[in-house]
Amino acid sequence: MEVLNRQEALVTNYEVLMVLQEEDQRHKKTKSAPFVKYPENVNTLKFEALQYLNSTSCATQSAEQILALKKGLAGFDLTKAEVLQIINLRPKKQVELYLIIEECEERFESKDVEDILRVVTSALPRDDDEEEDGEDDNMEDGEQGEDEMDVDNS
């Protein structure tokens, strides 16, 4: 074995999920053949990784949505890694975006941050959005006021 390139590209969680699902389909097709042994390590990894990825926001994404999001974010001066993390983590609140974007306060106005969040929620819609927002309203927010990071419930 020889490593030709340690890192050719970064891939989104969505792309990994697609590959895993494809493998899962292939596995299901061959399951009926009794003499075919399915390798244990592939099975374990496939099961655990599918379980993890299906619990994240990439489960409801599609290629068109991600392209639309990338287009929407093109106007902002974000690095590749930051865009990748926005796709993977789908930040909904300012505090999450501040974590992903390095030196966010210096690079972006708070208006830009709000715009980015708006682009994210419109490009990657999820059914459970309102439900979760409702929970946030009920939660006691002990940290309010600190760091001037208003929790964005829009």
Partner: protein, 194 residues
């Protein structure tokens, strides 16, 4: 979180795989060989992404299978420094907490990377963050958002029993790949906090 690595390898296709197309058979073989294994300095191998080059293959004298030289791209789990990830708390101890992402377990958040004002609660067996009079418990199996500080690869050889002590098999091996992470900072920690 995931990257593509380009690898070259010589793989064998056994006769039972001859019914499949060459590409299918190779993908099967690549996954069998690499999936769920850690390659030193590369990361945790997931699945083959695609195959770039396949040579025509050759059969060696007295063997019944084909050797094929192949160049392929592999999906590898190797988060970059400062990346934000989400996992679940697997265990807690006075030294810190261990986080699992399901397919990857060797994530450590040491005691000094906890939010300021945190301490280990020995009776409950969990960490507690005291913040403005509130006690925020970090219960096991809670979802936690953390930031990668560093990663460590350890060249682990297959465990060999030492001569003389046949019975004592080392209970736990050091992980070949582990992540050192932090939850000290705004937005980090349990998802329910923010």
């Amino acid at each position: 979180m995931f990257v593509l690595a380009v690898l070259r390898d010589t793989l064998k296709i056994v006769p039972s795989e001859f019914t499949k197309s060459r590409e299918e058979a190779l993908k099967y073989e690549i996954n069998r060989k690499y999936a769920n294994r850690v390659l030193h300095d590369i990361g945790l191998c997931m699945m083959v992404h695609d195959i770039l080059e396949i040579d025509e293959g050759y059969v060696q004298h007295s063997e019944g299978w084909i050797w094929v030289k192949v160049i392929f791209r592999l999906i590898v789990f190797r988060p970059f420094k400062d990346e934000i990830l989400v996992g679940r708390i697997r265990s807690a101890s006075p030294e810190g907490i261990q986080v699992s992402m399901g397919f990857f377990d060797d994530i450590t958040i040491s005691a000094d990377q906890m939010p300021v004002g945190s301490e280990y609660n020995g009776t409950e067996g969990v960490w507690v963050w005291r913040y403005e009079g509130n006690e925020l418990f970090m219960d096991l199996d809670e979802q936690v958002r953390f930031q990668v500080l560093d990663s460590a690869f350890l060249d682990v050889n297959p465990p060999r029993p030492k001569i003389g002590d046949v019975d004592s098999v080392p209970a736990s091996h050091p992980p070949p790949y582990s992540l050192i992470c932090t939850i000290a900072g705004d937005g980090l920690g349990l998802l329910t906090w923010w």
